[in-house]
Symmetry: C2
Subunit: 693 residues, 2 copies
Amino acid sequence: MGSTCEMNAAVSVWRRLPLFVLASSLCLCLSRAEDSAMENIVTEKKAEESHRQDSADLLIFILLLTLTILTIWLFKHRRFRFLHETGLAMIYGLLVGVVLRYAIHVPNNMNNVTLSCNVNASPATLLMNVSGKFYEYTLKGEIGANEVNDIQDNEMLRKVTFDPEVFFNILLPPIIFHAGYSLKRRHFFRNLGSILVYAFVGTVVSCFIIGLLMYGCVTLMKQIGQLGGDFFFTDCLFFGAIVSATDPVTVLAIFNELHVDSDLYALLFGESVLNDAVAVVLSSSIVAYQPEGDNTHTFEAMAMLKSFGIFLGVFSGSFALGVATGVVTALVTKFTKLRDLPLLETALFFLMSWSTFLLAEACGFTGVVAVLFCGMTQAHYTFNNLSPESQDRTKQLFELLNFLAENFIFSYMGLTLFTFQNHVFNPIFIVGAFLAVFLGRAANIYPLSFLLNLGRKNKISPNFQHMMMFAGLRGAMTFALSIRDTATYARQMMFSTTLLVVFFTVWICGGGTTQMLSCQKIRVGVDADQENTIGPDGVECRSTKHESAWPFRIWYNFDHNYLKPILTHSGPPLTATLPTCCGPLARCLTSPQAYENEGQLKDDDSDLILNDGDINLTYGDITVSTDATGAHTSGTAVGGVAVNSDEALDRELAFGDHELVIRGTRLVLPMDDSEPPLPVDSHRHRHKYETMS
Amino acid sequence: MGSTCEMNAAVSVWRRLPLFVLASSLCLCLSRAEDSAMENIVTEKKAEESHRQDSADLLIFILLLTLTILTIWLFKHRRFRFLHETGLAMIYGLLVGVVLRYAIHVPNNMNNVTLSCNVNASPATLLMNVSGKFYEYTLKGEIGANEVNDIQDNEMLRKVTFDPEVFFNILLPPIIFHAGYSLKRRHFFRNLGSILVYAFVGTVVSCFIIGLLMYGCVTLMKQIGQLGGDFFFTDCLFFGAIVSATDPVTVLAIFNELHVDSDLYALLFGESVLNDAVAVVLSSSIVAYQPEGDNTHTFEAMAMLKSFGIFLGVFSGSFALGVATGVVTALVTKFTKLRDLPLLETALFFLMSWSTFLLAEACGFTGVVAVLFCGMTQAHYTFNNLSPESQDRTKQLFELLNFLAENFIFSYMGLTLFTFQNHVFNPIFIVGAFLAVFLGRAANIYPLSFLLNLGRKNKISPNFQHMMMFAGLRGAMTFALSIRDTATYARQMMFSTTLLVVFFTVWICGGGTTQMLSCQKIRVGVDADQENTIGPDGVECRSTKHESAWPFRIWYNFDHNYLKPILTHSGPPLTATLPTCCGPLARCLTSPQAYENEGQLKDDDSDLILNDGDINLTYGDITVSTDATGAHTSGTAVGGVAVNSDEALDRELAFGDHELVIRGTRLVLPMDDSEPPLPVDSHRHRHKYETMS
């Protein structure tokens, strides 16, 4: 067999290069070429050339992003909401893709050194003995035979096609972490039950629905003879898994702008964040199902169970890891006075959060999932221990990373539609896919909403359901999952189809959000506070504020009485909440602040208030229970009259402004803190009771 | 000849991996292995294993940094100044290096597939045909024969040794940019002349002194027969160039803490920032001098001139590029209302600054140098156009990047002392190097200070000179330059020696800074404002405030009257400063704010005040000149009485606090803006006159 050596260092070097170090890493591998070029001037020249070439190519991307930024500014300046920045990035990406594909023709400046060599394996690293000197080569991956033939033609295209793992390991983590870190926790937890159902049950349902439909579609294609390669049921399921990850970034941006009902926002955001995680693990466990070696793609109970076990194991493992590192960070930031030095604090926060990803990958779990839950933990606990400056710094840092990564992914999506070499566009498959995606989303939203409404008193109204149905955009995660492996024919067809699905949903559904909102008569400009009292479907919501939130309520009490005091400076002293037996432990864990600092306390939770605008509801409830336990309520304006939660709440909520809210919490909580250990149980009982009624 | 193929994907993969994407990029190249592993399960297993292994290895680094951060906090908490964070990072790096070298023994889990193959070149990219499938390999570089023999032993070590270009292309740029962006501009420009002399003349002098001394040392070694390989004069010069880049980060940190005289601070910081740039370009042009192919390392006038031309060309080119992109960013931020959206603004700023690096690399200039001047331009112009939030964001972002990169480099330095494979420690060379470094620094500081003092009335006092001599630490830049190429025997010896020089200077000189300050009786706790009036050597400074600053003064007027109005919203309207002929141009360039915004104006320059604490001197001068031109000074508290600059100044400066300063500027400058075009010339004349006297 023959193995071709080229002098061109840059071929496909883009593959494995992230946005931030593209140019850099380029030089990196070239530099080595320069070393060897001590005795090989040709290589050196080539290396320099292609290094410059690659820097120039990267400049294209950067200028693309710059252009996107400027255009976004214009749009926001003009209140132009039909095209979101991501959609815009895709369009610019498309344009550049067209130019690269058709306009630019790179002259073939490679003199290939051909040498024969009988190789019987494709090792990851190759040591080559050249006149006594050893050179090391690293496997970059397989290249289609056609590419080898006309390599000079598509060299340019292959250069701007870089390794799909970049998305998983550089671009997605900041996006996912940011999602977790900026989660509107209050509303998220209020709708926790529904969100979990949508995310887990819903994703699995839609995965299997889509998988089955696509299998039908594929068998049909086989009959017609439209199918050019293998396409097994597991492939269909895999496709179902990857297109089940929704990413309504466009919709949520508009929701934010228009202040759409924040329960709807929480449902959509929470679902989209979690189903990304579910989809990742689901797809990997589906891949794990495939019996390697033999191609008997039949149903096997054992393999099925194995996949299920993998799903549970990987998901729970990643979850545990993410939470663990978050907790560690919280403890470190709590028990060191690091908050005096915001720079160190921010650096520590960044490093710890990043180590989550590495730890998960090192343990064989999914880094992206771990990062998500780490972000949520950091937001809920660590954030309260950070100095105000670090709170801004971390928020802004990850906001920036998220922005850059997201727009890069979307512009790359546009680019890759033209630059990807092995597209397989099959009309039948595409039509089937669109249909399946639609039905899969429907089978996720409507039945589950019906079931949930049986339990929820704060019903998910039909127009909400339609909106959620409509907001089932596919985005970065779907793309990353589909481009991750395009080796086989089936995967290539999936990838091409997925691209179209993403384009369609982002442009059409994303662009039509405002129209959809208006035609669904969904109230916009809702003040988060009022929305608690009046809610989407009028009076009913008021009477059902408690029941709809009961998982949140139980969780909140545990969190507020035990976790927050342990992990942050806020909450009641553990000495008050823990049983007396573990007094010493409680004393050493409780931070001195917890005893005397109302101001501190207010600070800690005011970030929730500022984030969510209506944490006060919670305090309202706590007030109630503490009153009921006979805790002295004298001298507290809100608490004093809060014998019945609702009245107090309404009175409190009637004023929409935060000043009052914060004052309210400050007045209520100290009393909640100075609560003796005894009533805590009745405290919890009461809540159970409340939820029963 | 034989070429050995191994199944181990991770060998040396660390080489080309940056801090931030280490783990990521690891998976990147592995992922390709996984693709090919569709038909090669062994490879897949290996790839997964080594992916996990590499994630774990990276975790070591991250935990190292985390540990460093916590320890730094302890030190700062305890006011412990003998060990700077960088020195600490080095120590931790050393410890981990020792552990990796001696404690950990990685079992040899590689089954080498040996296959014979006659290769006659070391191409940068290798296409390999394995049973019809093409696999692509990228050159990682040369490997010592000894490493090939006992490859399984030092696999671990080679894994934690990554590509030196990482420093140049990922870690140095943020550091250098931050240096330029956080430059104390006011003092920098006041001592511009001296700084330039130290940076350019001084670096070249010390480079040649060290080069000559080392050449003597090397010839001596030849005689004794201590030299194990070639060592040419150009190598000696190269060594001189790389160790001439000072990096007193430790010293400056202490200066900041102790508020040491800010002229001394400016001299040291300015010199160290600029001589990094000079050293980079100098070393590259020395390398360019070497006549490739034939080893006649004799003196050639032509080659010498060529190198000199390269030096000038590359330096000026990089300078121009850096300034250009800075100016573009300034114009974009000025003429768009991007400041409404801080996130976009920050992203744009980041992308533009980064594109400088790429542009320079693409044009064949030095990215690091370009980034430095870009940073200075951004700080001086763009910064004023940014929204306050973006000002914080950009500052904090680059502060963080700088912190992480710097500590990573230093901890890697410690690590590499044990993990680097080809150390060549030669006692004679090392002793000679230390001597040469000392003498080179001396030959830089003392003679130049003497010459400068002839021009300066604000003399650089002997104790300042000793301090500058003492503060000639070598750091990140020296290390990056020396590790960039360790192919030849000479370079390896240089690298090992450089490491020791860095360790010594950072630990000993860095640690002894406070003692040095006290034994040199250099006043600490200087309020930047008072220091203007009293200065290091008492009365003299006062009377010479003007003369010593004349380059700054001329530059300031041009900048304030033309550049700032064009590039920022501040400064006098161009319609006032430009000759009437270019009225239309002036009108369209002048931002509306420039006409009416005192507040704006104050904002723009107050950042200088907040950065430097004493820009008011400048305004004081402006006040004088404007008064002298007969501009009505009524209604301005400071300006009104400022007929003689010094009295006004002293009265102004007597109060140290910023409130007054800012108020002062606000009162003074509007008048300076409403200055008619005519007086400007007399304005400049006056300055010339002043400087003559």
